[in-house]
């Protein structure tokens, strides 16, 4: 008995850690739905959830915020995390989100989701913890910027609504690098603070200091939201340049 007790402790702790990570990830996905609802998005598709969370995660060092990182790999339709689908299914089972529509075509399934009233209630309670509120605020800001670009001219007509930002995600430097190298199924280095995305973000943070002589640099100091917006504007301009 004593032996078996001893041996079960580390595995309990590991299980507990895994559960904890899982709940954190679930909360973050719920925050995305909550933010989307504030902006009156009628739903988010599976593709949309993947792309929005990818951008929230890869840009999170900008706010010095720690998200429960999902592992994203390079797939045909951009960055993809297999964990997300499991969490979405569980959130549906918990009645925190609901399926708005579900179709299957050529063996692929397509689903659209939105937050439920119990889901909103849950978020309102979760954010009484400061750390959770910070996460919601960050995801809300990223969602707002995505919202600002989702209807821009020149984005793919193949997709609708928020899915259109797939064109901007293709221009995201860390993903684009893998795509250029044809490194399919390779993990995207989200947690690496020296990845190409962070190089660009760090340049944006100091962009006012790089202006040519004659510019009143103080006037051009950027806040976090504008840095984020400038990052998206860069992605958009890159997309248009490929025209």
């Amino acid at each position: 008995m004593p032996n078996s007790t001893k041996s079960s402790r580390p595995s309990d702790r590991a299980q507990s850690r895994r559960d904890n990570e899982y709940f954190k990830r679930s909360n973050e996905i719920l925050y995305l739905f909550y933010s989307a609802d504030e902006l009156n998005w009628p739903y988010i598709s599976k593709i949309g959830v993947q792309k929005c969370l990818y951008l929230s995660e890869i840009l999170s060092p900008l706010k010095e915020i720690i998200l429960a990182f999902l592992n994203f790999i390079y797939l045909y339709k951009g960055p993809y995390s297999k964990d997300i689908q499991n969490i979405l299914d569980n959130l549906v089972a918990l009645n925190a989100i609901e399926v708005v529509s579900f179709t299957t075509t050529d063996g692929n399934s397509y689903a659209d989701y939105r937050i439920t009233e119990p889901g909103k209630y849950l978020v309102q309670h979760l954010v009484s913890y400061l750390v959770e509120k910070e996460k919601l605020d960050w995801i809300r800001t990223v969602t707002k910027v995505i919202d600002a670009y989702k209807d821009s001219y020149g984005l793919s007509t193949q997709y609708e609504g928020v899915d259109k930002i797939i064109d901007l995600v293709y221009q995201e430097p860390s993903f684009k690098d893998l795509k250029k190298r044809g490194a399919k199924r390779e993990a995207i280095p989200i947690e690496d603070r020296n990845n190409l995305t962070m190089n660009l973000v760090n340049f944006l943070k100091k962009v006012d200091q790089r202006l040519p002589p004659g510019y009143e640099k103080d006037r051009y100091k950027l806040d976090l939201e504008t840095i984020l917006l400038l990052f998206f504007e860069y992605l958009y301009v890159e997309h248009l340049s490929e025209g």
């Binding site: 800001t141 660009l200 340049f203 504008t226 860069y234 301009v237 248009l240 340049s241």
Partner: protein, 350 residues
């Protein structure tokens, strides 16, 4: 790093960012509105049918507030196009709109007929006015034009690579091209008050600034064009300048318009051109940075004749070649052809 100059260009040329700096409006909110407006105006709007009657001013109301009691949503294409067909924009309305495109109210009694009225509107009531005039968009903040797109269907985002882009140092070629494509025959820029009598609108230099600046923003990927930027250490302001990001050279463009204007019946001619040359000399002398400059003349005089340059004005070493002079045509190509044929016939009879 290859993205550095591109980011600088995007950052310094994006006038939505600039408008937000001036007003304190949240940049994300204004960009959301601008992106949706840009997208809307590129849709299947029957511009050909409605022509130049398509004029309206949008007063942007910030705050991220969704309006339940709205007249209609500007960004719903069907609602928008049906209102165009219903004549909503025929006389230049004022629409109060939030970032979602909800139109709260329309002031039918207060028509905005021209850009000057739109400017006044931005001064008196609210911070930001978008003035849409056919396919052109003006963004006006506190009475000042911040940004102008002469043709939304032809425009692209500052910083985007375009097939006909040129390096900033080729600015003279770009000026020539902008004249051919937008100025000649008033294709994009309206400058005649009375074409037949060759009378220009008042303050014609200002009329030419915006479109030229906008064109340079579009076609110089490695340069930042500015309007009314100060010469270092002085209060003098250049009309248009370009900062070359590859070597930080400044290209100063001084614009002068010759001819008569609505409120000045004396024809501006040689003296005005020489004033421009002198002014440019002073800018080149005062500017401490590496600078090149040129004089750009839009000539609305009765006769198409050369300028009598004052030989006493010394030419600064950085003065870039000869001034560029464009004689503004007031006749259509067919009318001009008929006149030439008529004169030739007359001559042959003689």
């Amino acid at each position: 790093m290859e993205y550095e100059n591109r980011v600088l260009k995007i950052f310094a040329s994006n006038q939505v960012f600039e408008a937000c700096r001036e007003t304190g409006i949240e940049t994300i909110e204004l960009m959301k509105f601008y992106n949706s407006l840009d997208s809307l105006l590129r849709k299947n709007i029957p511009y050909g049918e409605i022509g130049e009657l398509f004029v309206f001013a949008l007063i942007f109301i910030p705050g991220w507030e969704k309006w339940n009691k709205k007249d209609f949503n500007l960004f719903e294409e069907n609602a928008f196009v049906s209102r165009i067909k219903g004549g909503l924009f025929d006389k230049g309305n004022v629409l109060f709109v939030n970032c979602f495109g909800d139109v709260l109210k329309q002031e039918k009694q207060q028509f905005v007929r021209d850009y000057v009225e739109a400017q006044e509107l931005s001064n008196d009531k609210y911070a930001i006015v978008f003035y849409v005039e056919y396919r052109a968009i003006h963004l006006i903040v506190k009475g000042k034009s911040r940004f102008y797109i002469h043709d939304v269907l032809q425009s692209n985002r500052p910083g985007a690579r375009r097939p006909r882009s040129l390096p900033a140092r080729e600015y003279r070629q770009l000026i020539q091209r902008q004249y051919d494509e937008e100025v000649y025959g008033e294709k994009g820029v309206k400058y005649w008050e009375n074409k037949k009598s060759r009378i220009l609108k008042d303050d014609p230099e200002i009329i030419f600034h915006g479109p030229l600046w906008s064109y340079l923003v579009q076609y110089t990927p490695d340069g930042i064009p500015d309007r009314e930027a100060t010469i270092s250490g002085t209060a003098n302001r250049t009309d248009v300048r370009i900062v070359d990001l590859t070597n930080w050279t400044l290209y100063i463009i001084e614009i002068k318009c010759l001819g008569k204007t609505k409120s000045d019946s004396v024809e501006r001619s040689d003296e005005w051109a020489n004033d421009g040359l002198q002014q440019l000399n002073e800018y080149l002398h005062d500017e401490e940075r590496s600078t090149v400059g040129t004089l750009l003349l839009y000539d609305g005089r009765q006769e198409n004749k050369d300028i009598n340059w004052c030989t006493e004005i010394p030419c600064h070493p950085n003065y870039d070649k000869s001034p560029m002079r464009f004689y503004l045509e007031s006749e259509s190509a067919s009318a001009k052809a008929k006149r030439i044929v008529r004169n030739l016939k007359k001559k042959s009879r003689e």
